[in-house]
Subunit: 392 residues, 2 copies
């Protein structure tokens, strides 16, 4: 059998093989990105599902429109306005099978082989994989502790042809945990406006802020219809219902709708109904507050443990929210060696190189802290500290 | 903004515009393909959902494996063996967001621009749209009342380079309602074996047989790992849960798994759990019997009404199962004209040309009979008969 040429780029990678090692049951794994299941509103969802199916099962269990459940789209538009200062019409929202699906669709909509996708350096692995199926070239935009550096983006755009879009996560980025300042956001929008560059703004964690206030989204500053905002219920509700969305200017959204229709007709109507009814009957904001309290505690504990146990020279980010932080090992200390030593000691993170489409540094590691009880956090960081020391 | 070249092929079509007309609320529409919602097991699903979430909500609402829920994959493998004589390992099944998603994935896996997809002439519109995103050439294989003609396929394969796969619906085909005989199936497998041609066997309706016995699937006759079998719960359970699957030889399935992972991570774990628990606690076979009884009645009534009211010269297929039949108008009678007249008279089908990727005949129409009460069937066919007569 002869596959499409794109499949050459989707083969088993070193990183994929290494990730398998982190899934062994006796390992304390900081490698995942799972929400804390102990906070899922299980009883509420049981009740809501039952009542909803009885109330409107004949419609709920039937085929539905590609765009998504109207009352859910309305709630999302309102929530975006409340949280992220946007002004999005419910008709300009498409419900997707998780926000991962939006990444695939963006690749499908924009990319011919050889076209350029810009992204933060480093960036979310799952997005790089999704775009990869459409055979682009990746150009990495330099970042610092304040996030993407707009001046560097401007320079790249001046000299790089065929840039189709830029993919960014301004809030508590995956993998680094960094957040762009207000000033960076404004400057960024100036640059993309100057070059008419479409922007994929991925915001899975924005509501999970542990200090300060939520910053306006890029979408809220968009005057030219360039920004596509991706949202999800996976981190504020639960990911087993596959529910994400894209909000985009109307003519752009209608292209996504066409793609959605031929890709899977529509998102589970049942899942959509359950999220909608939950928000109708319960207070999602109160639920998010509980998540924030727990994750803030875990973030504080992991930062404190790193401070206490990690050897001098190892650096890490201090995320103001989200699920991840980013370790940088002292010069000369190989992340691959640390990773292997960690696996021996039954602890794991993700080697940072997974998140760079082009450059390899072998000096960093992504750490997740949302899915772990206190004693495992402390024990895991102690083991990791030992592993780092042994590699120095 | 500059989109990918594939989007030129996904623009609004004449057919899409015409389909919009059929959705007006005062029209008796035979244009859809919806199951009868009055048969959805609403109370059972309400109960099952409630109990399942309480019992295993912490896992059910969490991220899950890309391949799908193991106990559901096991049930599907067993059901395929019982109904379609296959011998598929549960590990060789991937659960998808409806079987529509398998069509998109097959395009993604096999097709570079310009590659050839073979299909029955006519074939399912949704499949053609899904493949279209990957810019293939379509080659139509001639059919007759017995389904695809294997000798014609052989001739085409002898002379056509870059044939990547053939897409077929051997049971109660969409749009024609035709079913391949056992002999045709055997001969077809000889031809694809000879040419090593991968086969996408789509079987959404196989269990909905109103007379005779279910025939072995192509997959059950596959000795070379060429056949990918697509199944769905949409027609035997309900489509609002988006649940389909692909069964394929292991190394081939693992390619689909990679594609699935970057496309939407996994299918709704909630939907999967509900279908699984329903099959655990209730008798899906008994439920399918009810569906078969109702649709058989509707098929009989629509055939009888056509016999009674349609003018001489109009022909139609007599489906042994499934949801559709196929009208052919007398020579010189334009299907577009009939369609327009039908819309005036508040009745609708789908113009047959929608189902041909290349050739246009303007003589046929697809009719759905699963979603309509008796009086509307009779009234609709009377109106349509009048429209046909006025176009003669």
């Amino acid at each position: 059998m002869k596959f499409a040429t794109r499949m050459e780029r989707m083969q088993a990678s070193e990183i994929r093989e290494l990730l398998k090692l982190t899934a062994q049951p006796d390992i304390i794994s900081f490698a995942g990105g799972l929400p804390a299941p102990e906070l899922f509103p299980v009883e509420e969802i049981a009740k809501v599902s039952h009542d909803l199916v009885l109330k409107e099962g004949r419609q709920l269990l039937q085929y539905a429109t590609t765009e998504g459940r109207p009352s859910l789209r309305a709630k999302i538009a309102k929530r975006m306005a409340d949280k992220y200062h946007t002004n999005v019409d419910p008709d300009d929202i498409l419900i997707t099978t998780g926000s991962q699906q939006c990444l695939d669709f963006a690749g499908k909509l924009f990319l011919d082989p050889g076209d350029v996708v810009l992204c933060e350096s480093p960036s979310y692995l799952g997005a790089l994989n999704a775009f990869n199926a459409y055979q682009p070239k990746f150009v990495e935009v330099p970042t610092d502790n304040g996030g993407l550096i707009p001046e560097e983006l401007d320079k790249i755009l001046e000299t790089t042809p065929n840039c189709k879009f830029i993919y960014v996560i301004p809030d508590f980025q995956n993998p680094t945990g960094r957040t762009w300042s207000m000033e960076r956001r404004q400057k960024f929008m100036e640059v993309v406006n100057k070059h008419n560059l479409p922007v994929l703004e991925d915001n899975p964690y924005g509501e999970l802020r542990y200090e300060g206030t939520i910053l306006p989204s890029l979408k809220s500053m968009d005057t030219k219809g360039l920004v596509m905002f991706l949202g999800t219920f996976s981190k504020i509700f639960c990911p087993g219902l596959r529910l994400g969305w894209i909000a985009a200017e109307h003519s752009l959204l209608s292209e996504f709708v066409k793609i959605k229709q031929s890709a899977d007709l529509h998102t589970s109507n049942f899942d959509q109904g359950v999220a909608d009814a939950y928000m109708e009957q319960y207070d999602l904001d109160e639920h998010v507050k509980e998540i924030v309290a727990l994750y803030k505690h875990r973030r504080d504990l992991i930062l404190e443990s790193m401070e206490k146990y990690f050897p001098a020279g190892t650096e890490w980010t201090h995320p103001e929210g989200g699920l991840f932080l980013w370790l940088t090992f002292p010069e000369g200390v190989s992340a691959r060696k640390v990773f292997n030593k960690c696996i021996e000691m039954k602890v794991a993170g993700v080697i940072g190189d997974a998140f760079y489409p082009n450059q390899k540094t072998d000096r960093s590691m992504r750490i997740n802290y949302s899915n772990m009880p206190d004693n495992r956090i402390v024990e895991g960081i102690q083991r990791m500290a030992k592993a780092i020391k042994e590699c120095m």
